[in-house]
Amino acid sequence: MADFGTELDVFRTETREWLEANCPASMRTPLTAEETPWGGAKFKWANPDSKIWLDRMAEKGWTAPMWPREYGGGGLTAAQARVLEQEMARIKARPPLFSFGIWMLGPVLLEYANEEQKKTHLPKIVRGEIRWCQGYSEPGAGSDLAGLQTRCEDKGDHFLINGQKVWTSYADQADWIFCLVRTDTSKKHEGISFVLFDMTTPGVEARPIKLISGESPFCETFFTDVKVPKEQLVGKLNGGWDIAKRLLQFERQNISAGGFGGAAGLEIEEVALAHVGSDNGKIADGDLRARITAHKMDARAFALTVRRVEAEAKSGKGLGPAASILKYAAATLNQHKHELMLEAMGADGLGWDGDGFDRRNVRETRAWLRSKGNSIEGGTSEINLNVVAKRVLGLMDHQ
C-alpha cells in the first residue's frame, strides 16, 4: 500500500527506460518454440540474445519480480510487478525465462523450506542456472496422486529412494527434481514427504515418452537405490502432502493465467477466411463462422475472468471463487480452439510432416494433438470439477 501514484509513476519511467536500453531487439519478436528459454546446466541457447536477456533480467531479480531480494528476487510490490508486466507487454518483450522453479517450486520453498534451503536454491532458480522437474505422478497414482508408492527409507545418515515416476516433464533435460516420496507405508496422505535431489545422482534414469503429437516432453523416471542427503527434505517428514497440494495450486494458477494457447499461434478466424473463403468479409461457411464466433466469445470471457481474478486478488480480498474454475475452463477452451482450427484448415491441416504442407499448419496440427493432454495434466478436468463441487460449492462426499 506504500505505492502512491507518483512513486509508481517514477518506477514506471525507470522501468521503461531500463527495458528500452536492455531488451535486445530479437527479444521483442514473437517467441518461437525453438527459442523457448528453459535455462539450466544442459541448456543449448538457440539464440544468444535469449541468454543475454535472461542474465540482464536475472541481475535485477525480474525473472521472479515479487520474490524477496535476499533470495535473488526483484522485491517488487504487486503494483510494481504489474507495471513491469505492462511495460514488458508495451515493447512486446519475451518472458526471459520459462521455469518450473519459478512457477511451482519457488513459491512453496518460500513458504515451507528452511533458511539454508531457500538460500541454496532460490537464487539459482532466479538466474535460470538449474532446471527443475516435477516428480509427482506414478503409473499407479494419477488422479489419486496420494496413492504414490515410490519408497524413501531412512538409512541413518541418508535417505534411500526406490520407485518410478511418470509424466515427469522434461526430466531428461532437468538438473534437479522436486519429488513426492512415501516415507510411511502405514498411512496414505500422512505418509508422504517432499524431497529435492540432483538428477545426476547414481540410480536416476529418465526415459522420454513419445506422444501422439510426435513430441516427447514427458519422461518415465526410474529411481534405483538413489542416495539423497537428509537435509534435502523440505518441511516435516511425512508432511509432504500439504506442500504437494500447495504446489498444485501454483501449477493450476500458472496454467490458468497463461491459458494453454501458444504465443505465436495462428488466429482461427483468419485461418477460416483463408481456407474456407470470404463472403463479403464474413467467413463463407455460416455454420463454422457461428461456432468460431462462439469460441472467440468464450475465449474473451475467459480472458476477462483472468483479469477479474487478478484485480480481486490485488485488491486484497484474496483469490475469489472464480479462480477455482480457471484450469478447467482453460483446458476446455484450448481443446475446442484446436478442434475448430483443424476443421478450418481442412486438408491443409492433416499433414504430419514433409512437403505439401505449410510448416505453420503442421505446427497447429501438432498443437491440436498436444492439447488433448490439457484436460489430463495438472489434475484432470474431472478432478477439477470435484474440487470445485466440494471445496467451493460445499457439496458433500458420498456416505
Binding site: L304, T305, L385, N386, V392, G394
Partner: protein, 376 residues
C-alpha cells in the same frame, strides 16, 4: 474498474436488503394472481425504489440524478433480477433515460429526466416491430407536420409500454427497413392521438405491450435529431443492464439448486453427493463466473466510454442468454417432479429467462454482431 467502490457496495447492499424484504418472488406471484400483468408492477414498491434513488442512477446531477453510472444501476438490477422483481426500472431509468441523456436537448432533459429521476413518471423505449430484435429493420414512418412529426406504424412486445407516461420511439424519416441512416428517435406522450396500447399476457407476467400509432403526434428527440448512433448506444446500454438483471436471475437459480442438492435425500444419500450432479453444478458455476466477468466488463466499458463497449455488450448479452438458459433448465431438472409444479419457483425463473433471452437480442443475434465487429 472491476472492483466496486464504497458507494457501489452500499448501493448493492441496500438493494439486496430491500429486495429480500419488499420484493421476494411471492410478490410476483401475487401480481400474477391478481391480474397485475396489465400494469406490471406494484405502485407502492415502485415509489420506494424511486425514494432510494434508483431511478436517477444514470441521470446527470443537473437533472436531479446521482450520475453513479451504468455499473451501479447494473448492481441494483442484478438484485431485482434475483427475485424476478416486476418493475419499470429497466425501461424507465435504464432504456428511456439513456435515450434522453444521450440524445435529448437541454429542454427535453429538463422536462423528462428530472421527472424520471424523481420517480414521477414511467417511460419506455420502443424499437422492435417484428418477432426478433433487429433495430435496423424499423419500418415505422415519421412524417413532418406543421407542429412537429406524426408517427404511423406498430411496435411489438415493448416492455412496460402500456402504461408509460413517455415512450421513446424509433421511426424513419427516409429510406427502407435495413437502412440505418433514415432512423430518428421521437418522444410520444401518454394519451397521444392515434396511440393505442394492447397489454400482452406473456409467460413472465411482466408488462409488455403491442403499440399501434396512427398519425400520432410526436416530438423529435434532440436537435437536429438523434439518429442511429444514439439509438445504437442506447440499445447497448439497455442491453448491458438487462444482462446484469439476468446475471442476478441466473445466480439466484443456481443458489436455489445448490440448496436443494444439500437438502434432498434419495437412496439414503443427499443428492448433492452424487458425482453426476456435482459436475453439472460445477459446470454451471463455471459458466456463471465467466458470464459475470463479461457483464462487469461491458458495464465498466460503457462507464469508461471505451471503444470496445459494443463488442463487450454483445458478449455480455450472449453469455447471459446462454448461462441463464442453462441455469433455468437445470433448475427444473435438478428439482425433479417438484420443479414441474406451479408451487415451485423454477417455472417462474424459466419463463422469465426466455423472455429476457429474446429481449434486446438472442444469442445468435449477438454472436453475429460480435463477429461483424471483429471483422469476420
Amino acid at each position: 474498474m472491476a472492483i466496486l467502490n464504497e458507494e457501489q457496495t452500499m448501493l448493492r447492499d441496500a438493494a439486496k436488503g430491500w429486495v429480500a424484504d419488499k420484493a421476494p418472488v411471492t410478490a410476483l406471484r401475487r401480481l400474477r394472481d391478481t391480474g397485475g400483468w396489465k400494469t406490471g408492477y406494484d405502485p407502492a414498491a415502485w415509489k420506494e425504489m424511486a425514494e432510494m434513488g434508483w431511478t436517477g442512477v444514470i441521470v446527470p446531477e443537473a437533472f436531479g440524478g446521482s450520475e453513479f453510472g451504468y455499473r451501479s444501476l447494473g448492481l441494483v438490477l442484478e438484485e431485482t433480477g434475483r427475485t424476478l422483481t416486476a418493475s419499470p426500472l429497466h425501461a424507465t431509468a435504464g432504456a428511456a433515460a439513456t435515450a434522453l441523456v444521450l440524445g435529448g436537448t437541454d429542454a427535453q432533459k429538463e422536462a423528462w429526466l428530472t421527472k424520471i429521476a424523481a420517480g414521477e413518471i414511467t417511460a419506455a423505449l420502443a424499437v422492435d416491430e417484428g418477432a426478433h430484435h433487429h433495430p435496423a429493420s424499423v419500418a415505422m414512418k415519421a412524417e413532418k407536420t406543421a407542429s412537429g412529426y406524426s408517427l404511423t406504424g406498430i411496435k411489438r412486445f415493448i416492455p412496460d409500454a402500456a402504461d408509460a407516461d413517455l415512450i421513446v420511439v424509433a421511426a424513419r424519416v427516409s429510406g427502407t427497413p435495413g437502412d440505418t441512416a433514415g432512423i430518428r428517435l421521437f418522444l410520444v406522450e401518454k394519451g397521444a392521438a392515434g396511440l393505442s396500447a394492447t397489454p400482452l399476457h406473456s409467460i413472465d407476467n411482466r408488462a409488455h405491450a403491442d403499440l399501434a400509432f396512427a398519425v400520432t403526434p410526436a416530438e423529435l428527440l434532440g436537435d437536429p435529431g438523434a439518429g442511429w448512433d444514439v439509438l445504437s448506444a442506447t440499445i447497448d446500454r439497455a442491453t448491458a443492464l438487462l444482462a446484469a438483471e439476468m446475471m442476478g436471475t441466473a445466480t439466484q437459480a443456481f443458489e436455489v439448486i445448490l440448496d436443494y442438492l444439500k437438502t434432498r435425500t434419495q437412496f439414503g444419500q443427499l443428492i448433492g453427493s452424487f458425482q453426476a450432479l456435482q459436475h453439472r453444478a460445477a459446470k454451471l458455476f463455471t459458466e456463471l463466473e465467466l458470464t459475470r466477468s463479461c457483464v462487469d466488463a461491458a458495464l465498466d466499458a460503457i462507464d469508461a466510454g471505451a471503444k470496445d463497449a459494443p463488442a463487450l455488450v454483445s458478449l455480455a448479452k450472449a453469455k447471459a442468454n446462454e448461462t441463464l438458459h442453462l441455469a433455468s433448465i437445470e433448475m427444473v431438472q435438478m428439482h425433479g417432479g417438484i420443479g414441474m409444479t406451479d408451487a415451485h419457483d423454477a417455472g417462474l425463473y424459466m419463463k422469465r429467462a426466455r423472455v429476457a433471452e429474446a429481449l434486446y437480442g438472442s444469442s445468435s443475434y449477438h454472436r453475429d454482431r460480435y463477429a461483424r465487429l471483429g471483422g469476420y
